[in-house]
């Protein structure tokens, strides 16, 4: 008689508060180049959404065109996605977020998509405080069209071909602060811990989050003369602080260390704990933040972390005083005026 030896039980994958595993947050297989910084960002979006117990069906992903704009296909298949046209992701996010204010909006764009062709839409989406996490996957080049300079390329930086960029770069972060954005951060795709903490805080934020992630393009912009290569960014990355994010549901249980740590509280009760590394940086001081970023840029450094935060600004649906339920599903009874009302309108025109 033979007895099958019972195999060791497979340990169940850990679940989050909603009972989902991390597998529930993944998307289709990436088709980007191996080692592309964009894939590292995708991985942290998956982690942060899983750890923050984000409801996948509420997540809506928007993008323009570029290697970066392909990535919404690679995370959270539970959510809907809209890969639109080059540079126009912000207007796509605007319309859908107005149609249904219960959606959790993630926009993914590139430095070309947002700082060149889509500059107008970027600027105006930020002004309007569209409720969305706006991620710029910033590699200083146009990846998808094979390595031309983008508008974030540093002056004097080289292409692989040897061509030199003569124009000053546009910095999405100082620009966003200037435009009144209430959550501005810069990260490096090679620093997953920091990116993870910022994404979790971003999920809890109500308005536009501008997140510029330096994300090397290994195929076209990772050479020695590039200021967006893994090596260069690692050597020039100056994290501002250690960030901790505490979701509102956990606030009770978590003890926040006193002393060095600054706490920023969101309207929903969530808290960001900021432990300064860079001395004297005050992320709630708008003008101070601008000054510090400009000074560091002049020295060729990347200040990374939460650059500026003001959690109290009303997002667009609130400014428009929209009803709480999604406009998309309002019924005819609420939308169509009555025959008596038409009659009143007609009388006034007689």
């Amino acid at each position: 008689m033979t007895t099958a030896t019972p195999s060791a039980p497979v340990p169940a994958a850990p679940t989050n508060k909603l009972g989902f595993t991390k597998q529930d947050y993944v998307g289709s297989k990436s088709t980007l180049c191996a080692g592309c910084g964009h894939d590292a960002i995708t991985a942290q979006i998956i982690n942060a959404a899983f750890e923050s117990s984000i409801e996948g069906h509420r997540v809506t992903k928007y993008s323009g065109i570029g290697c970066s704009s392909k990535t919404p296909a690679y995370f959270m298949n539970q959510g809907w996605g809209f890969n639109s046209v080059h540079g126009r992701m912000p207007s796509i996010a605007t319309g859908a977020s107005l149609a249904n204010r219960t959606l959790i909006n993630i926009g993914v764009s590139g430095d070309g998509d947002s700082m060149s062709i889509g500059m107008g839409q970027f600027v105006h989406a930020v002004r309007r405080n569209i409720p969305m996490i706006y991620i710029i996957e910033d590699n200083g080049v146009y990846g998808l069209t094979k390595g031309q300079f983008s508008a974030t390329a540093d002056k004097g930086s080289h292409l692989k071909s040897g061509a030199v960029n003569d124009f000053p770069p546009i910095d999405p972060c100082t620009l966003a602060i200037e435009l009144g954005c209430g959550f501005v951060a810069r990260c490096f795709s090679g620093n997953p811990k920091q990116l993870n903490a910022i994404l979790k805080a971003a999920f809890a934020y109500q308005g536009t989050v501008v997140l510029d992630v330096i994300s090397p393009c290994v195929t076209f912009n990772n050479h020695d003369a590039s200021t967006r290569s893994y090596k260069h960014v690692k050597d020039h990355d100056f994290p501002l602080h250690d960030l901790g994010f505490i979701q509102y549901s956990e606030v009770e249980d978590v003890e926040i260390p006193a002393g060095q740590t600054e706490i920023v509280t969101f309207p929903d009760g969530s808290k960001v704990a900021i432990k300064a590394i860079h001395e004297g940086y005050e992320p709630t001081d708008r003008f101070g933040a601008m000054k510090a970023i400009h000074e560091s840029m002049a020295k060729g450094e990347f200040l990374t972390g939460l650059l500026y935060i003001n959690p109290t600004q009303p997002p667009l649906p609130e400014m428009l005083n929209l009803v709480d339920e999604p406009l998309a599903t309002l019924g005819e009874d609420l939308l169509k005026p009555s025959p008596a009302e038409l009659d009143k309108i007609m009388q006034a025109l007689m």
């Binding site: 409801e55 996948g56 069906h57 509420r58 809506t60 992903k61 919404p72 296909a73 298949n77 539970q78 959510g79 809907w80 996605g81 809209f82 890969n83 639109s84 046209v85 126009r88 912000p90 207007s91 796509i92 996010a93 605007t94 319309g95 859908a96 107005l98 149609a99 249904n100 219960t102 959606l103 107008g120 839409q121 600027v123 105006h124 309007r128 667009l316 649906p317 428009l320 005083n321 929209l322 009803v323 709480d324 999604p326 406009l327 998309a328 599903t329 309002l330 005819e332 609420l334 939308l335 169509k336 005026p337 025959p339 009302e341 038409l342 009659d343 309108i345 007609m346 025109l349 007689m350």
Partner: protein, 607 residues
């Protein structure tokens, strides 16, 4: 002292034209004459006489010349009439030219200091001391410029025989009951009337006589009618960017939304209206809101459609609904921004790169502006595609008399949208699977709970399951189905309307050309030429249009553009009948008139 001036009849005692004449008022843009002109129009309307008004205004805020034409017609003709029986000349800049162009025998009311009466001897002059009258009737000097125009209304009312009670009523209506302004304007108007009573002899050239033709009618412009259609259709997201002549569509909608689109329980708004940074962004908002399940729209003109065209192709290919109003103006480029044309026909029929075909609605009356706007939202959601409602400046911004609008009782058609339960029950759902064979697929909306139905919309190649694909067979399947969907639309768009006189000769027109075609048809009939008129109301062409084209020996395609764009669409759709289509064109920026049509058709017939 003003000499009492008779307004003789230089035509030598020709019969009085009762309720059948045109008045042209020449003023300076920004002088407030629009109110006075509308009052005059309304007063004639209230006398029960069919009347239409056309404002020919410059692309300028203040200072350039503007002309307003009022046509009264006992027969109910409302197209622009080229000849005018009365001129009111208030603009020193254009007065001499206006006189030179005047039709012999016209009555000319003018500002006395202009001294126009020596210029021609075949006109009947009435100089009016406007400054003197205004000073006497209005105590506030800074309002003189505004109320001066009301004086000519009073003078004209006297000469035409319009009841002053009707004029006063029209003033109250126009100024929406603002008591002080109403009184001021009524006083000025009365001053003009009294002066004319005392100082002018009556004339018998043209007269308004009370009739009952306008009982129960409304006066409205097309932009307001379209705005009302959208209001009743339950539009919930509006993204727009200002442009003449389309702005007032959304601006009027905003006014109505203030009153009719608040949740009675919370006072919160049931519509999101955002003035975007440009038309590209407006199109993005419309399509993504439609994609997310809202009823969405924008209103623009040709330059805006040009900018939107990349997005419109996206909407077509990913199958996102949205309503695009194009209130057309004179192109190309900036063109004549305040003048009318029908020159975006081909642009809207095939807007965007690649193979695209769009459903277009062409309202030709105020009732249709209302009804088609209402229907456009159903069509957008039913066919999951951008829908164009194409009007023009003439329909959109001019005043038109109309029957009051019928209540659109038909419930909304929200199209093939799957809810959570339906998604759960469905075995093999694919966003772009043609389950019913009509080319229209089932869609799901973002945010639907239950873990089913999520997909990624992309403007790049995709298969029936919305997956990225570059395979030729997948591409062909989607493009073939989109064509099929367009074919399906034939049975759902408004069919043509006919005005047949029993002829194998066809006249085909659309939109704002309608009144001029009707009048031209009557003139041609009087000259012995019968025609069958088909007014096209939509793309794609329906079965009735097919039959008409096959049956007619010749089809005169009347349109307001240079290149005969609609005729081109017909030649392309019906190549075997291509030689039947003859273009009758009018495209100088003024609304089309009957005479232009008659002359061109007559010339073709004599060939």
């Amino acid at each position: 002292m003003t000499a009492a001036l008779a307004a003789p009849s230089p035509t030598g005692g020709a019969k009085t034209r009762i309720n059948d004449f045109s008045i042209q008022v020449a003023t300076v843009n920004g002088s407030g004459s629009q109110t006075a002109n509308t009052v005059l129009l309304r007063a004639i309307f209230q006398m029960g006489v069919f009347v239409s008004g056309k404002n020919l205004f410059p692309s300028n805020i203040a200072g350039l010349p503007t002309w307003f034409t009022i046509r009264a017609s006992a027969q109910g003709y409302v197209a622009r009439k080229v000849s005018n029986e009365m001129l009111i000349l208030m603009n020193p800049e254009t007065a001499k030219e206006d006189i030179a162009k005047a039709d012999p025998g016209a009555l000319v009311i003018y500002d006395e200091p202009l001294q126009l009466d020596k210029l021609r001897s075949d006109l009947a002059y009435t100089p009016v001391p406007f400054q003197k009258l205004v000073t006497a009737s209005c105590p506030e000097p800074k309002l003189h410029k505004l109320v001066k125009n009301m004086i000519y209304v009073g003078v004209a009312a006297r000469l035409l025989g319009i009841d002053m009670e009707e004029v006063k009523k029209a003033i109250a209506k126009q100024l929406k009951g603002k008591a002080k302004a109403v009184e001021l304007n009524q006083t000025a108007c009365m001053a003009g009337y009294d002066w004319a009573m005392e100082n002018l002899e009556d004339q018998d050239h043209i007269k308004v006589v009370r009739d009952n033709k306008t009982q129960g009618l409304i006066i409205i412009d097309g932009n307001e009618a379209c705005a009302l259609g959208a209001l009743f259709a339950g539009v919930t997201v509006v993204g727009w960017y200002p442009i003449t002549p389309a702005s007032s569509l959304v601006e009027t909608f905003i006014e109505y939304a203030e009153e009719y689109r608040k949740d009675p329980k919370t006072g919160k708004s049931t519509v999101a209206i955002v003035q975007m940074e440009d038309e590209l962004a407006s199109a993005g908002v419309v399509l993504s809101a439609g994609w997310a399940g809202a009823r969405s729209m924008t209103s623009t003109a040709g330059p805006g459609i040009s900018l939107m065209s990349e997005f419109i192709g996206l909407g077509y290919y990913v199958e996102a609904p949205g309503v695009f109003f194009n209130v057309a103006r004179t192109g190309p480029s900036t063109g004549l921004p305040t003048r009318t044309q029908q020159s975006d026909v081909e642009l809207c029929a095939k807007c965007s790169h690649g193979d695209t075909l769009h459903v277009n609605l062409y309202p030709g009356t105020m009732e249709e502006c209302f009804q088609f706007s209402y229907d456009a939202f159903d069509l957008a959601e039913k066919f999951q595609t951008p829908i164009f409602v194409v009007t023009d400046l003439d329909l959109g911004m001019q005043n038109w008399a109309s029957k009051p609008f019928a209540y659109p009782a038909k419930p909304y058609d929200r199209g093939k949208v799957l809810n959570q339960q339906q998604l759960a029950d469905m075995k093999d759902w694919g966003r772009y699977k043609d389950v019913d064979g009509d080319g229209i697929c089932y869609r799901s909306l973002p945010g639907t709970p239950g873990g089913k139905g999520a997909y990624l919309t992309r403007g790049s190649g995709h298969n029936a399951y919305a997956q990225y694909s570059e395979k030729p067979e997948d591409y062909l399947e989607v493009m073939g189905r989109l064509k099929r969907k367009y074919e399906t639309a034939k049975a759902f768009v408004p069919g043509p309307v006919f005005r047949n006189q029993g002829s194998d000769k066809g006249v085909l027109a659309f939109g704002s050309s309608d009144p001029a075609v009707i009048e031209a048809q009557d003139v041609l009939l009087a000259q012995g030429l019968k025609t069958d008129y088909l007014r096209l109301r939509a793309l794609p062409f329906t079965a009735e249009v097919d039959a008409y084209v096959k049956e007619k020996k010749v089809v005169y395609v009347v349109e307001q553009n240079r290149d005969g764009q609609m005729a081109n669409l017909f030649r392309e759709t019906y190549p075997e009948h291509a030689t039947k289509f003859k273009s009758v064109l009018h495209y100088d920026g003024h609304a089309i008139d009957a005479k232009s049509i008659v002359d061109q058709i007559t010339a073709f017939e004599q060939k």
